[in-house]
């Protein structure tokens, strides 16, 4: 599955993290450090698996339990972004 930032979103890197504006709802969001990193990877890689692999490597190293935690957090974050219409998922 490929991930894509919605065409209805304007975003910018700021000192406090990634700031988002959803043009359909008029809502603003600011992502924390981890959320901002995931967002950047969605923008650059656009695939779920490589994103999880990169983050797992960055945050968990060889720690299996930590990898499972990273996987869970990433899936939760992406699910929430997709639900809010900020990220879209399409068949590859």
């Amino acid at each position: 599955m490929s991930l894509q930032i919605s065409d209805s979103v304007i975003w910018q890197e700021t000192a406090g993290g990634i700031s988002l504006y959803h043009a359909e709802t008029g809502d603003f969001h600011t992502l924390n450090e981890t959320g901002s990193r995931i967002w950047e990877l969605v923008a650059s890689d656009g695939e779920r698996e490589p994103i999880v692999a990169k983050l797992s490597h960055e945050f968990a190293g060889d720690n299996l339990a930590m990898s499972v935690r990273v996987l869970k957090d990433v899936q939760e974050f992406l699910g929430s972004m997709i639900e809010r219409g900020l990220i879209e998922e399409h068949p590859a």
Partner: protein
């Protein structure tokens, strides 16, 4: 036999009477005042000398409640102006372009609107004009009627299955309900800080029917009073001009001050039009502009009672929502009564429905008037987006539709074109219109404006 009594025979009360006549065997509308014989302002309605427009959502509701009413208003000289398709508007960032958003307003005098609505609404109800409502009758469980006094007569009681309070901003219903043992009604007042002054003019013949609605919004400046103006055409070739100002910048009600205030605004076009027209009557100030809400739906109240219109939610009149919310609420009342019947026990549901119908108008008014207190400071990103929105609003059909549809109480378009909004916000903005370009969008106004420019030896009247 079922009976409903409506307290107040103004716009909301007349509509409520018309709807109740479909659900009750007998409907009585109690009105303190006497109705004027023609389309004139009513003594007991001080605001009727001021500007009253029906916004699109309210106009639709009125037409559904009383089919043919809009045609009757147009036949008597009311004007239809699309927003911003037929309106010359100076927004915070500049002049709007003519765009078709589906939003519109209908403009005429309050006297004409009330007369046309009364004629069509009150045919099947008994109207007791010159009758004062003295209080509600019943107990803490159930309102069973009202106590009234007709002119020169002793007080009498009218029994009713449902009493509808349509007495407006100054409703005494909270006190009357408390006298029956009802709970206290939470009330919230948010000052708008706004004052306005109004004058009616006879328009010059060449512009009487052709003029767009004109709105000059205040210059956005924190810590300084916001001053603006509107000019709406009304029936009989007249214009109604309203000057508005927040605390410290209130518009004067004297001749010289009124003219000077109009000329000091961001653009003098309203001042120029005033100078070209003939004043009809004096300048009338108005100050009762706070936003007031009574939360009837939150209190434990007797059955058999519901309030409607300004008695529930009265927002700053500058939003032009009062009559439209009343029409939308009455339409909702009709639907609720169709579903539930005229059952006194259904009053809590009716009260909740009336509150829900006024909610969006209330929120909109508060967002504008309550100020930033309690909200966190906007981030640089948010300020940038909002500034771009303000600018793009002037020429983006998507943004303008969203804005004007909300302002006129129309439902949002089902499918929003987010990518188009993104393009409007991130692309190079359309150039701002000069005053000349903005005026040129309206040929009749432009011809007049050009003539005025020539008279002034080529100096454009509105270019500052």
């Amino acid at each position: 036999m079922t009976r409903a009594v409506v307290l107040g025979g103004g716009f909301a009360g007349a509509l409520a009477g018309a709807v109740l006549a479909r659900h009750a065997d007998d409907v009585i509308v109690i009105e303190d005042d006497h109705y004027p014989s023609g389309p004139r302002a009513r003594r007991g309605l001080p605001q009727s000398h001021h500007s009253h427009v029906l916004v699109a959502g309210g106009a639709r509701a009125l037409q559904e409640l009383l089919p043919g009413t809009l045609e009757a208003l147009f036949a008597r000289g009311a004007h239809h102006r699309r927003l911003p398709g037929d309106a010359l508007i100076l927004g915070a960032a500049g002049w709007f372009r003519r765009l078709d958003t589906g939003a519109y307003l209908i403009s005429c005098s309050r006297g004409l609107l009330d007369q046309v609505v009364r004629q069509r609404a009150l045919g099947a109800v008994s109207t007791w004009a010159g009758t004062r409502a003295l209080g509600l009758v019943g107990d803490a469980r159930r309102v069973t009627g009202v106590s009234v006094r007709r002119e020169g007569a002793a007080p009498e009681t009218i029994e009713a299955d449902l009493v509808v309070d349509a007495t407006g901003r100054r409703s005494k219903a909270p006190r009357w309900l408390a006298e029956l043992g009802g709970a206290e009604i939470e009330e919230l007042t948010v000052s708008s800080g706004l004052a306005y002054s109004t004058r009616v003019y006879q328009a010059p013949a060449e512009l009487a029917g052709e003029i767009p609605a004109i709105m000059l919004h205040p210059r956005p400046a924190r810590g300084r009073p916001g001053q603006g103006a509107t000019l709406f055409p009304i029936e009989d070739g007249r214009w109604i001009v309203t000057l508005t100002g927040t605390r410290g910048g209130e518009p004067p009600a004297d001749e010289r001050g009124f003219a000077d205030f109009a000329r000091s605004l961001r653009d003098p076009i309203v001042a120029d039009l005033m100078a070209a027209a003939t004043p009809l009557g004096g300048i009338r100030p108005y100050r009762d502009t706070s936003n007031r809400r009574r939360f009837f739906e939150r209190a434990r109240l007797p059955a058999g009672f519901v309030a409607i219109g300004d008695a529930v939610v009265a927002v700053n009149p500058v939003h032009s929502h009062g009559m439209s919310v009343a029409a939308l609420s009455t339409l909702r009342l009709d639907r609720e009564l169709t579903r539930r019947g005229l059952d006194p026990a259904a009053a809590p549901e009716l009260r909740a429905a009336m509150a829900a119908e006024a909610e969006s108008s209330w929120r909109m008014a508060l967002a504008q008037d309550a100020g930033p207190a309690g909200r966190r400071e906007a981030t640089a990103f948010e300020r940038e987006i909002l500034a771009r929105r303000t600018r793009a609003l002037l020429s983006s059909p998507e943004l303008a539709a969203e804005f004007f549809r909300a302002q006129t109480l129309l439902p949002a378009r089902a499918a929003k074109d987010g990518p188009a909004v993104v393009r409007a916000l991130t692309g190079e903005p359309d150039p701002l219109l000069t005053t000349r370009e903005a005026v040129m969008q309206y040929p009749a106004l432009h011809a007049w404006w050009d003539a005025l420019t020539r008279v002034r030896g080529g100096r454009e009247p509105s270019l500052r």
